[in-house]
Amino acid sequence: MTLSVRSLATVLLFVGLLLLPLYVQATGDRFLLTLFTRIVILALAAVSLNLILGFGGMMSFGHAAYLGIGGYAVGMLAHEGIVSGLVQWPVALAASALFALVVGALSLRTRGVYFIMITLAFAQMAYYVVSGIARYGGDDGLTIYKRSQFGAWLDLSNKVVFYYVCLALLMATVYLVWRLVNSRFGMVIQGARSNETRMRAIGFPTYRYKLVCFVIAGTLGGLAGALLANHNEFVSPSTMYWTRSGDLIVMVVLGGMGSAAGPVFGAVALLVLEEVLSRITEYWPIILGPLLLLIVLFARGGIDGLLAATRWPARKKAPL
């Protein structure tokens, strides 16, 4: 049995991400580490979004809200002098889960455009709420003077350590999503995407499964938010602005919705392209936009779909 092109590409991607700090060490290009820390964190958010969007068919247009909620949980607690990650991170996850529970409970009763609009509206509401809290910086955002503290054995202010923490959490999330979507739970989620009427007819109360899925995705989004706040040492309302939700959707669609690791390709491709193109011209969206359009039109499974469709060249059989 040979490794498929898709599996090999996935392995290579993660090996590359694992080795990146060595390259940075060798070249001294610190910026690359910062860029890729951001990529890894946003990839985590995209992977969590794909759980509901790709596998569950729930077109959430408010996933950036969880980045903001996770981030503000860390920022607000730090502002009040609570810097322990063992408090901050669980609070970030719990707050995101709760928000997802409320949004999901209401939005999952609707379909299609209404679902999109409700998830968007909730995220924008969260945006305006934090914009209005003067104590935590309002519009200007909130500076975090100290990264989450995990004691002496894990120093997040070390950039390499922090990068590996983010990468480990990303890989754990991809694995988690992969297990989830293939489990009984995942079969219900995917069945509900494919044909919800039939799912109900054969005996599944689909609503509760979709809601749990929505909460899991939101919680993981909150984790990405806690990481992003630590990375930027800053959190502001713009973290959860609707265009950020759009970016996450682009990462998912570009990377491919068909696999747990697909959005990681999307996040890397989009953010690296953005970086490279913005160095060439300040009008980089003019190039990036059509590029994305081509991918959506001609590679419906995104990068992951292209990889899945690629076969190794057939080897000629040696004559006997």
Partner: protein
């Protein structure tokens, strides 16, 4: 004989159209009860109300002694009501076996199992294989549902309905779109199934209906105009006039 399903003065309107008009009828335990009627008689609307996709405006439905008029579709399935769809309604991206395995899973406790790979669970795969075997689709188990022929889709529909081990099968035109050979095979299949299941069959194929049914109910514009044994229905003047046509040779 006790009635497994009792429908009492059931009514459903869509705007000005009366799809189900104070409908009264019963399905006895063990019988194959056919519902026939011209297009627009309200047969599919009836099935949808019985299985819970549509809620009746008034009237009641009792199943195995329980009032299920307001019970949601998924719970009716757990009470033992299984339906097939007139227009094939499957999970096109999944294999035939996965389709049936999902139907098995629906009746194998809750699905809040997050870790173990569902496709490796023999508790789901085995009964699913058996259901495919039952309808003669075992050889197509691993084919994607979207790649099956129309005839195979009809059989897969049936296998999914059987997978939950139902007390009452609601079959909505299982012969729809089948060629003569396939129809004949479906009739054989239903003949075998009727010894084990109570079946409510909605069907256009008169030959099939008269060959299979223990009792026939004739619907016209949402009303029952006749109900009885096949011979009685064949002889009923009102049925001949209203539905089968004056010179209908059944």
């Amino acid at each position: 004989m006790t009635a497994l399903l009792q429908v009492d003065r059931l009514a459903k309107r869509f705007g000005g159209i009366v799809a189900t008009d104070d409908l009264v009828f019963e399905v006895a335990e063990g019988e194959l009860h056919a519902v026939i009627g011209p297009n627009g008689a309200g047969k599919t609307t009836l099935i949808a109300q019985l299985s819970g996709q549509l809620t009746a405006d008034s009237g009641s439905i009792r199943f195995a002694g329980t009032d299920i008029t307001r019970v949601p579709a998924w719970r009716r399935s757990h009470l033992g009501l299984a339906r097939s769809f007139q227009i094939t309604s499957l999970f096109p991206d999944l294999s035939a076996l996965d389709n049936v395995a999902l139907a098995v899973q629906a009746h194998a406790g809750h699905s809040f199992h997050f870790w173990r790979k569902a496709s490796l669970e023999t508790g789901l795969r085995q009964p699913a294989r058996a259901a495919l075997e039952e309808v003669g689709l075992a050889h197509r188990a691993d084919a994607r549902a979207s790649l099956l022929s129309h005839g195979e889709h009809r059989l897969l529909e049936l296998a999914m309905a059987l997978a939950g081990d139902p007390r009452l099968l609601l079959l909505d035109e299982p012969m729809a779109g089948l060629g003569p050979d396939e129809s004949a095979r479906m009739v054989d299949m239903l003949r075998r199934l009727k010894s084990r299941y109570t079946i409510l069959l909605v069907e256009h194929d008169m030959e099939a209906v008269f060959a299979l049914a223990d009792r026939i109910t004739v619907l016209v514009y949402g009303r029952v105009i006749a109900s009885g044994a096949p011979d009685a229905i064949r002889a009923d003047a009102q049925v001949r006039e209203a539905y089968l046509g004056e010179d209908g040779d059944v």
